[in-house]
Chain length 208, copies 2
Amino acid sequence: MSDTTKVPLQTVERLSRYRRVLADLQDTGIESVFSHRLADLVGVTPAQLRRDLSIFGSFGNVARGYDVATLHRTIGRLLGTDQVQTLALIGMGNLGRTLLMYRGFEERGFHIGPVFDRDREKVGKVFAGRRCYALEELETVLPDFSCRMAILACGPGGLDALTARLANLGVAALLNFVPQRISAPPGVFVEDVDLSAKLEKLSFLSRR
Amino acid sequence: MSDTTKVPLQTVERLSRYRRVLADLQDTGIESVFSHRLADLVGVTPAQLRRDLSIFGSFGNVARGYDVATLHRTIGRLLGTDQVQTLALIGMGNLGRTLLMYRGFEERGFHIGPVFDRDREKVGKVFAGRRCYALEELETVLPDFSCRMAILACGPGGLDALTARLANLGVAALLNFVPQRISAPPGVFVEDVDLSAKLEKLSFLSRR
DNA sequence: CCTCTGCTGTTATTGCATTCACAGCAGGGC
DNA sequence: GCCCTGCTGTGAATGCAATAACAGCAGAGG
């Protein structure tokens, strides 16, 4: 069953893909699906799909396969996206503003609450209906939103101090766009997004 | 040595990180570095760093460690970023325009050449100095730029047909922002960027 | 009621990536 | 010249994830 930290990391990543496909199936009115079909739509092997799910329990039925609605809801609960989560966004540059306008987050249960910037010029301005706070206000503003996660879309200056302050305020997960290694405080999870690195990987692979 | 497909995928991803740290070291005037120090800066174990490099050859010196400039240049050659590569960008929405303005790509040797959009309203407009072409012009415009890679920042409609056309024009690698499985033509490499999935992963991990 | 089908959940096996451990050696100290 | 230090490169061992294989069973068909 869903015992503690015994879940493979890559299984977690695949859960998102399962959930997305299940949502599509649900929209098209399909009520149940076999592992073969679902795995095919997601792009994994049936064995892997069944193995991934079996880590958390037995959801399938020999005769009908998996109930689409139930499995969709179950994975949502596992991921913690069954209720809306509020994120803090640090950095209102091009990237930050684009993320703020991205509708995909809301669709998946992620709501961007308070936004911050270091630049005095941006503080006080309104972006997509949100007033931009100064970084100094972090301690006074953030508790009102009870954010468990934050997006880092700011410059590289003083990153370690910033992450330490966020950790102190109860932020346990960071989506990091800054191309720099973060020394995360214990208990804080970091996911890096490095587009240049992805391009370099593609460059390497496509060159042989 | 740099034999064919015997390179672990995750080693390729780490090469980018090595290169970035080496660039920083070079900027600060450091000429040589030991595996311990370099690994520490990158955030991996010394053994892993040495193992990764040993796949491609012997670059270190027992007494001085690794020559920063040489190793930086060497990794650049391995990744294929020692010369500028031109990318095509499909989709001029919020995301596409942000990517176009992102300076990090140019710094790493990636130049965005032609940009396209399906929307008639965007065609002909100029974004960051580039005139936006219609998707129908792909076959006539793309050959002038000889792009080996493309960025997909468009909507999900007709993706498979689009990738097939790109493959026909010699595009061998795709950076895909569309949250949908791509059935890549043989020989075409795809890297997916799925921010919602990353958030869901963080949600799962931080909820434990 | 019995057999036959084919799907799930799970165990066994394989493969891959990381870590460990050390041979071998270049240079420094004396 | 000779020993000593501590680093690199790499074979061996370990750990983790993907694949293969199968036990068990719910339902269909007769």
